[in-house]
């Protein structure tokens, strides 16, 4: 007998919003995998399937004018943040209608309107930038929080340690959101870190650190809200979200470094049915309602595919545009 699901501690509408966002990401990512097979999307493609609760719970904990610095596995964060599925899909198609006019692709989504500062494909590369954004906010008396997402693999980089130190030393408003999916490409945490307790590392910088079940979107959301409030008041904070990616690292990855049984164990804790089962148990969601939300998510994705298909190509004459100000055109 499995345990009865834990009750949902959020109001129904908020919980349903989290469920909706997770389904939007799941359907979007699944469609991306198809489109990659059809060679509509090329280059590197890193899917977020399995990790949806982290982006949804954490991004939804931010205020509208807060800043986000993300990784190359960032489609989900971009979607939840409010970059349209159309603009993201068109970007992956390399079309002019994409959020970066086809300059960035899957790994480099940017959006000034929603404070989305990339889409960084250098592991750890976003952390110093987040520190600088927070410094600018502090020096200009803005109450903005910068949330920087990074995987546990980034913790082996010097950029992590230098950035944690600087943010703690200067008490800057940075929320360090670590998405610990246990594997840095194919290298398991225990094979790359002498100390696998990530919160201990954060504590070494004198920074508050908490560990959260990253498969439970409500736990993620509540922890992220607390962290963001703390950051806005007083200084940086580190949160480790324990999560898992169901798919390989990228579409090129044969996924030889982990057991299928391990993947299945994590899938049994999947963030979407984790929440939907709880909502159903509490009488807050019917199966029909669930299917309707899912169908809407799929519809949004299909519209995005149609939008991307119908998109145009950036003129090659504009190749040198946006290298420095005023070039080309």
């Amino acid at each position: 007998m499995s345990r009865a699901p834990a009750p949902v501690t959020l109001p129904r509408e908020r919980a349903l919003a989290l469920l909706t966002d997770m389904l939007r990401i799941r359907r979007f990512e699944e469609r991306c995998a198809d489109l990659y097979g059809q060679q509509k999307i090329r280059g590197f493609l890193h899917l977020y399937i399995g990790e949806e609760a982290v982006a949804v719970g954490a991004v939804r904990a931010l205020a509208a004018d807060d800043a986000i610095v993300a990784t190359y596995r960032e489609h989900g964060h971009a979607l939840v943040r409010g970059i349209s599925a159309n603009a993201i899909m068109a970007e992956m198609y390399g079309k002019r209608e994409g959020c970066c006019r086809g300059r960035g692709g899957s790994m480099h989504l940017f959006d000034a309107a929603t404070g989305f500062y990339g889409g960084n494909a250098i592991v750890g590369g976003g952390l110093p930038i987040a520190v600088g954004l927070a410094l600018a906010d502090r020096m200009q008396d803005r109450s903005r929080v910068t949330a920087v997402f990074f995987g546990e693999g980034a913790i082996a980089e010097g950029a992590f340690h230098e950035s944690m130190n600087l943010a703690a030393l200067w008490r800057l408003p940075v929320a360090f959101f670590c998405e610990n999916n246990l594997y840095a490409m194919g290298t398991a945490l225990a094979r790359s870190e002498s100390q696998t307790d990530l919160c201990v590392k954060a504590a070494a910088f004198g920074m508050p650190a908490v560990r959260v079940d990253g498969m439970d979107v409500i736990a993620v959301h509540e922890a992220a809200r607390e962290a963001v409030a703390r950051v806005r008041e007083g200084g940086p904070c580190f949160v480790e979200f324990q999560t898992y990616r169901y798919r390989a690292h990228s579409m090129f990855d044969p996924d030889l470094y982990r057991d299928n049984a391990e993947v299945e164990t994590w899938k049994a804790r999947g963030p979407i049915h984790n929440l939907s089962n709880r909502l159903k148990a509490d009488g807050l969601l019917t199966e029909d309602e669930f299917l309707a939300i899912d169908a809407d998510a799929a519809k949004e994705v299909e519209a995005a595919v149609a939008f991307a298909e119908a998109g145009s190509l950036e003129p090659v004459d504009d190749l040198a545009l946006d290298v420095v100000a005023g070039a080309a055109r």
Binding site: R103, G132, N165, D322, V323, V324
Partner: protein
């Protein structure tokens, strides 16, 4: 007015800090210590620790924080003690600062100024003496400048701060104590043009940063032999102002590029290639170059001297071009 390069740079920084509240200076020992080359001495007391910001020894993080602060609406001036140390921050300069405008299709830009000392000549040995300007000049998205004159030390910083994209300012460490007349021309400093510092008919010496003074010295020695050398200070290493030095070479029909970097893959090689592409049939002799010898810069004075371009080497190169070697 006769002032030192250090004083010119210091006044430029002071002006920038005093006139624009978005400007701040950040780096190792820029505050309490007064700057490793004493350029920012006294600034901490005047502008306070928020704007004269001492950093830990974390080149990657504080240069990256400069990128972020620029994205966040400020005008950071980040000081890196020497170009050798900037390699610790190369990722943030090359993979972030230079790319953000393009990757984001113009939604974001990085108005960041990075100052760093470069070059040899003070017996600081191999880890403090290299000239890697060409590495940065290779990268689209960066502007790279090398103020060599008092006017440029005084004027280039303001132009760099006015630029909406990242600018790297290379200050040759031997120049700080040099003195010269400050003219009114500093007010018109741009980040686009090379400048002819000495006019001549027989050969063009193309130099920048630390090799400008050496080239002028060589030109004076050549004049004593009746050879009239023109000296072009590139000033801006990216983008190169082809028009100015190509026009000069067309007039003099001979060129020697004087570069403190190593010869292989050097900026000198790029300048020479452009001369071949654009002015080959105007040349009376193959383009020559004087670069550093291909060794890590050694400590001992006589070895260091031997490793670097020197006026005598430039004179010898010119003589060879003129068939007087």
């Amino acid at each position: 007015m006769r002032i030192s390069y250090r004083e010119a740079m210091r006044t430029a920084l002071h002006d920038a800090l005093a006139s624009d509240p978005r400007v701040f200076l950040m780096g190792e020992d820029v505050g309490k210590y007064g700057g490793s080359y004493a350029v920012s001495k006294g600034f901490l007391a005047e502008f306070g620790p928020e704007r004269i910001r001492d950093t830990p020894l974390s080149e990657l993080a504080f240069v990256g924080a400069g990128v972020g602060a620029a994205l966040g609406g400020l005008r950071p001036i980040v000081e890196v003690m020497t170009v050798n140390f900037s390699l610790l921050a190369l990722d943030q300069i090359v993979n972030a600062a230079a790319l953000y405008r393009h990757m984001s299709a113009g939604q974001f830009h990085v108005p960041l100024v990075i100052r760093m000392a470069t070059g040899a000549g003070r017996q600081l040995a191999a880890q403090h003496s290299h000239s890697l300007e060409n590495w940065y000049a290779h990268v689209p998205g960066l502007t790279v400048v090398a103020p060599a004159t008092i006017d440029d030390a005084r004027g280039m910083l303001a132009a760099a701060l006015a630029d909406p994209d990242p600018v790297i300012v290379f200050e040759h460490a031997l120049l700080y104590n040099s003195e010269g007349e400050l003219s009114d021309a500093w007010r018109a400093c741009d980040l686009t043009s090379a400048q002819i510092l000495r006019q001549g008919r027989d050969v063009t010496l193309i130099a920048w940063g630390g090799t400008v003074a050496k080239s002028l010295e060589a030109a004076a020695a050549l004049a004593a032999e009746g050879i009239d050398a023109e000296v072009v200070d590139l000033r801006v290493l990216r983008p190169l102002d082809d028009a100015t030095y190509i026009a000069s070479v067309r007039r003099t029909r001979r060129a020697v590029v004087v570069d403190e970097g190593w010869r292989s893959g050097s900026l000198a090689a790029e300048v020479m290639a452009r001369i071949m592409e654009q002015a080959l049939y105007d040349l009376d002799a193959p383009v020559a170059r004087v670069c550093s010898e291909e060794v890590p810069i050694p400590y001992a004075k006589h070895l260091e001297d031997a490793a670097l371009p020197q006026p005598a080497k430039v004179v010898a190169a010119v003589r060879r071009l003129l068939g007087k070697g």
